[in-house]
């Protein structure tokens, strides 16, 4: 098995696991009177890293990303060109989710800080209390970055098919 096939399976599995946790936590929090907080992260000052948020839609997105990574792993067993498409799409979407997370963190910080401009006290903001900072979509993306080698290798072959 090529290294990128196994690695894409591994990364996809992580996305799927955290996605499932978020769907379960979110479904229980949103649609039932029960409380549930399933986590699979390193304990960090009272929080978890990564932290599975209670949002079924966020969880669904993670499941989709995980599925595409796993598809990339499966198809790349047949060759780089076969796996290039799903791995590229998974990298693009997971990258977009990571960038979105950073933008939201920045926006939340700005939202708590801007009252200072009007002579009021800034609101409380802590990166540990920020769900978007600890979300698996942001924490897992760096793990997916080695797969950029697959993207580059595939693009080189498209440009120079003889190589």
């Amino acid at each position: 098995m090529r290294w990128y096939s196994a690695y894409s399976f591994f990364v996809g599995l992580l996305y799927v696991i955290y996605g499932a946790l978020e769907v379960i936590n979110g479904a229980v929090a949103w649609w039932t009177p029960l409380e549930l907080n399933l986590q699979l992260g390193l304990p960090l000052y009272g929080e978890f890293l990564p932290k599975a948020v209670s949002d079924p839609f966020f969880g669904f997105v993670m499941l989709v990303l995980g599925s595409i990574f796993i598809l990339g792993g499966k198809r790349s067993l047949e060759g780089l060109e076969e796996g290039w498409g799903p791995i590229t799409v998974a990298l693009l979407l997971s990258g977009a989710l990571a960038v979105l997370s950073l933008l939201v963190i920045g926006a939340d910080w700005l939202d708590s800080t801007y009252p200072v401009l009007f002579g009021e006290e800034a609101g409380e903001w802590s990166i540990l209390a920020e769900d978007w900072a600890l979300n698996p979509g942001l924490i897992l993306f760096p793990l997916a970055l080695p797969l950029i080698k697959v993207y580059r290798a595939g693009r080189m072959r498209m440009v120079n098919p003889s190589k």
Binding site: F57, M158, P161
Partner: protein, 504 residues
């Protein structure tokens, strides 16, 4: 040098269908002297309106049309796609075979082809579509929020600083008061970042070429509910504003498909309603506000599907026209065009909302001061004309958990949804920035969500109604208004009822 005529040879079963219809058509000598029977047969199989009109005066018309219908059904059942799409596929197959023979060298596989294998995949296409839309709305809602808040607070500060500027009470109240023009303008301006971010995201998706893929991917699912894939473009435009979305349905060739697209488009959560939901969602749901908003978008889309399906089954019994589209290659978005488009839309929103909201709020403020039944000017809101209207409506909306003020806000929302927040603030006697905490002290998150559901579904704004009337006549405009109100009430009641059962 003369070229030879190329006869496109289709698959055997398609050729048999063409042969059957050609044989019938050949019995009319005047018809086959004017048109090639093979060409006419193929057009009848494609259910081409123009071909049908040419055939109408022929004695073999009924028999040929009946045969074409039978063959169309048989081919559709066998190949599990519409006959028109089957014939288009066959033509592309023939083109592919010709290219193989005459073009030397291997066809380059492009990055777009490989990406499309995933994005257009039967199982992954729709989940990827929802993923992209979810990210787009999270970006719109969450990242724009601080800019909206900054602008709102800035104008509240300006209004507060100018309070009492002229010394004339009526003028000061009208311009610099808590519900005055300056605060009103500030409220509208505070939503411009939201609109800007929405159109920024939509423009990026358009520029990279994803919108065409979205239409293609959704076509399969949408056909099952009586909509064509072309409807996804007006639906996505409806997320900005229903008015241009309704006019964009002119691109749908079939009259029936266009009607279905028009009457379901008001169920798309437009940017005006987004401003109402943004405030309510952040007030009542905080960190999960983005996903609450997404749930409303999803609800609007699902209800559009349900209405389309019922409409097709009960009224329009025709079939959905096929959707054939050549996909452009993916490309990087041009930041300049994206920014320009988003900026133009933001300015348009400000101009439209500015005029409508300021005038609407002044009218509501007057109605809040005119007492009923004496019709004199006063400060008792509970005894005003607007309160009488609201109290008249209250029994209808009490099962939804509302009081008369929310009913009146919804009533004025018919003029323009952007008015709902301002009207609600006026009626509760608080400035708009304090409306969230005020409503939280009076209502539960379930009641807030039920209210949002009602605002999502009920009457589109007056400009949308006018657009529907312009495109399809007042009969369909009134139908859309009526079904919207009934559906909104029933769904809102169901949400509130089930929610109460679960949460108590």
């Amino acid at each position: 040098m003369q070229g030879s005529r190329l006869k496109v040879r289709y698959a055997d079963d398609v050729e048999r269908a063409i042969e059957r219809i050609s044989t019938i058509l050949s019995r009319d000598p005047s018809l086959i002297s004017a048109y090639s029977p093979r060409w006419l047969s193929i057009k009848l199989l494609e259910n081409d309106e123009d071909a049908l009109s040419r055939l109408r005066s022929s004695p073999v018309y009924e028999e040929a049309v009946k045969a074409a219908e039978e063959e169309r059904l048989r081919l559709s059942k066998k190949h599990e796609i519409e006959a028109e799409i089957l014939l288009a596929n066959e033509r592309y197959r023939v083109i592919g075979e010709i290219v193989k023979v005459v073009v030397k060298g291997a066809k380059k596989v492009t990055a777009s082809d490989l990406i499309d294998k995933v994005v257009l995949d039967k199982r992954l296409g729709i989940p990827i579509f929802f993923t992209v839309i979810w990210m787009m709305f999270q970006f719109t809602m969450s990242v724009s929020a601080p800019f909206c808040d900054i602008l709102g607070d800035l104008f509240a500060w300006i209004s507060g600083s100018l309070a009492g500027l002229t010394g004339i009470e009526v003028v000061d109240d009208l311009f610099f008061g808590d519900y005055g023009v300056v605060n009103g303008v500030g409220t509208i301006l505070s939503f411009v970042p939201l609109i800007f971010f929405l159109y920024f995201a939509l423009s990026i998706l358009e520029d990279i070429g994803y919108m065409a893929r979205a239409a293609f991917v959704m076509d399969r699912a949408m056909r099952k509910v009586g909509l064509t894939g072309r409807t996804i473009i007006p639906m996505i435009l409806g997320f900005g504003c229903n008015v241009p979305a309704i006019y964009s349905t002119r691109a749908i060739p079939s009259d029936e498909d266009r009607l279905v697209a028009i009457i379901t488009n008001p169920l798309m959560l437009c940017s005006a309603r987004l401003t109402v939901f943004a405030m309510l969602a952040y007030a009542f749901f905080e960190a999960t506000a983005g996903s609450v908003i997404v749930s409303l978008y999803v609800m609007g889309i699902v209800l559009a599907f349900v209405v389309a399906l019922l409409f097709r089954k009960l009224y329009l019994k025709g079939r959905v026209s096929p959707f054939i589209l050549e996909l452009p290659p993916y490309q990087s978005p041009t930041l300049r065009s994206v920014f320009t488009h988003a900026y133009e839309r933001g300015v348009m929103f400000f101009k439209k909302a500015g005029t409508v909201i300021v005038i609407g709020l002044i009218i509501i403020e007057i109605l809040m001061h005119v007492q009923y039944p004496s019709l004199v000017w006063g400060n008792d809101v509970e005894g005003s004309l607007v309160a009488s209207l609201g109290k008249g409506l209250e029994p209808i909306f009490r099962p939804l958990g509302w009081d008369w003020r929310l009913a009146v806000s919804a009533f004025f929302g018919f003029v323009a949804k952007e008015i709902v927040l301002g009207a609600t603030a006026l009626l509760y006697g608080v400035p708009e920035p304090e409306l969230g905490p005020k409503l939280m002290s009076l209502y539960t998150p379930l009641q807030a969500y039920s209210y949002m559901v009602f605002i999502l579904i009920y009457v589109p704004c007056i400009v949308t109604v006018a657009a529907i009337a312009h495109e399809r006549g007042w009969k369909w405009a009134l139908f859309t208004v009526t079904y919207g109100i009934v559906l909104a009430y029933l769904v809102s009641l169901a949400v509130f009822g089930f929610g109460t059962l679960i949460y108590g």
